[in-house]
């Protein structure tokens, strides 16, 4: 199955390809830096760094749904919860290996994405937001009330970290490096997807759905696919989150967390490859830096986001791009 190629000679110069290759280099380089970054940071610093990457994966998925396919999902935290709980239950109660649980979490969230998206997208596009809103709250209710399965408000504890080729990953540093590798693989997969004909079809959908349809793109199928893959990334993120924190309860997977993830996508820059990393940095790491402010940190964070959006609705990535374009125009004019 391949997408109809969007051949538009005027809009396909060679430069974008080169810029995307720069993105590939940046991804690998970033992974190398992050591999060594925690040296001398201590357990907690390393944990925050790993958490940042795990949240980035979740935000990445939402960025595919929102930034590339133009659909609003209000359930990304719920998908993370599904992944985290599936992994925790499978590994602690049934002795399934983490790798199998990771794959199953992705599969489960992908399937649920299809099930939710199919009726919602059949009706009209923005009803996906309403359906995911309802789904998000229902999942949270189930996580909290079905004690026999999820442990209710007491959650699930003693979630083990996986081995890698016989190496135990119990330490913060070892597990961080594992997270770096998984994040790299998942972001490379997404980088490939966005560059592929499928990804171009997603972008065409966002820019102008009617025109995309007239070019022969099956709008509904592609939107559904983008949402399902985005949801699967939420599942993957949850599957990594469970062994990282080693204890899960329903609170990090509530509706307000889904809204918070949406905030991160837009603040980082929806539709930019590196937007999710910046957004998660703002949402996860910035609050740690603002810890000196005590309980005020959320207010400061939200004020920064609000001010940022008023100044630049395309988020931090958009701000960078704007600055870069201005710089190029200036240097081009001097030449």
């Amino acid at each position: 199955m391949s997408a109809p190629a969007l051949q538009n000679p005027a809009a396909a110069p060679r430069r974008p390809a080169r810029r995307i290759d720069a993105a590939l280099v940046a991804l690998v380089l970033g992974a190398v830096i992050l591999w060594f970054a925690p040296v001398g940071m201590g357990r907690y610093g390393t944990y925050v760094l790993s958490l940042w990457l795990v949240m980035s994966i979740g935000v990445m998925g939402l960025n595919l749904t929102l930034g590339y396919a133009g659909q609003t999902s209000l359930a990304q935290a719920a998908f993370m919860g599904l992944g985290a709980y599936a992994t925790a239950i499978l590994t602690t109660k049934y002795g399934v290996s983490w790798y199998a649980a990771f794959g199953l979490s992705g599969l489960l969230t992908f399937a649920v994405g299809i099930l939710l998206g199919f009726p919602a997208l059949r009706v009209r596009t923005h009803y996906l937001a309403f359906v995911t809103l309802a789904f998000s709250t229902l999942i949270w209710l189930v996580l909290r009330n079905e004690q026999w399965l999820t442990g209710g408000v007491f959650g699930i504890s003693n979630i083990n970290r996986p081995d890698f080729l016989g190496i135990k990953l119990f330490g913060a540093l070892e597990f961080h490096r594992f997270v770096v590798v998984v994040t790299l693989i998942l972001s490379l997969a997404l980088w490939w997807l966005i560059r592929s004909p499928w990804g171009r079809a997603f972008t065409a959908l966002r820019e102008n759905p009617v025109r995309a349809a007239s070019l022969g793109i099956d709008t509904r199928a592609y939107t559904l696919l983008a949402f399902a893959i985005g949801s699967a990334y939420g599942g993957f993120a949850g599957s990594l989150y469970a062994p990282l924190v080693e204890f899960i309860d329903p609170s990090p997977f509530s509706l307000s967390q889904s809204l918070f993830l949406l905030l991160m996508v837009v603040a980082g820059g929806a539709g930019y490859l590196f937007g999710p990393f910046i957004g998660a940095l703002l949402g996860v790491v910035l609050p740690e830096w603002l810890r000196f402010a005590g309980s005020l940190y959320l207010i400061i964070f939200a004020t920064i986001v609000l001010a940022l959006l008023i100044v630049c609705p395309q988020g931090v990535s958009g701000l960078f791009e704007r600055g870069w374009n201005a710089f190029r125009r200036k240097s081009g004019g001097a030449r």
Binding site: F130, L133, L298, P313
Partner: protein
Amino acid sequence: MAEFIAYLIAGIATGAIYALAAIGFTLVWQTSQTINFAQGEFVMLPAVLILLAVKLFGLPLWAGGLLGIAVFLLVFGAGFKLVVVDPMIKHGVLPLAIATMALSIIMKEGAKDGFSAEAQSFPSLVPTDMITLLGASISLQHLAIIIVAFAAIGLLQWFVGGTKLGRQMQATAQNPTVARIVGIPVERMVLLTFLLNAALAVVASLLISPIYLAKFSNGETIGLFAFIAAIVGGFNQVRGALVGGLLIGVADSLAAAYVSSQYRLAVPLVLLVAIILIKPEGLMGRKEERRV
């Protein structure tokens, strides 16, 4: 039967509150295509501001009330439009919706840190007695909520449909370009809508806080239910928001009593999904033409 009537009245009372917030939603949506995710916090904050004014300046309740309401209307009616909505409206619905999410965090955390993390009692204008009606014991507060909320909604309907200012507002909502051409001060009408939204939030706050206490986290549920009510009723209709609010309030109250208190929240949500699948534009909504 008596029990059922009691639950029904309680449901209508909370539903009337949701309706007030949902009507604010639809007003703001109609004139500026803004989805205000801070709507629940808009209902939470006035009560907190009033208590804060009384506590900080030692004012009597009525003066603190006036001060709190004035500050709220100024900051979250006019200020909200001028500072947040105006600069962002040209960039589309999404960044603005996200901005209102950030605003809701600021309002909620601000109330928690600036006032109190504990629920505070809020004075009621109505005695807290119960009366017996058709064999069911019903709280006077619930009856008062229903009467005041319906009076406010009736007043609003009269204003929108029966006064010159209101009709200008309606024209602006329906077609700003044409409204501008016929000489309606569109900007002022939009500002008026935002002030009305804030005023409805104040009414809802004054009605609900005596029962649910003034607490920073109150906005979460109210915002969620008002949002659902607006969708269920039809996002582009004031009448729809009223019907949606009452429906959700009653469904919630009856679900808590007869289905399961743990899953009461699920009933309005299932209702939501069922309605948008069967009638996507909402119960009372108009179909909006698709713009290419």
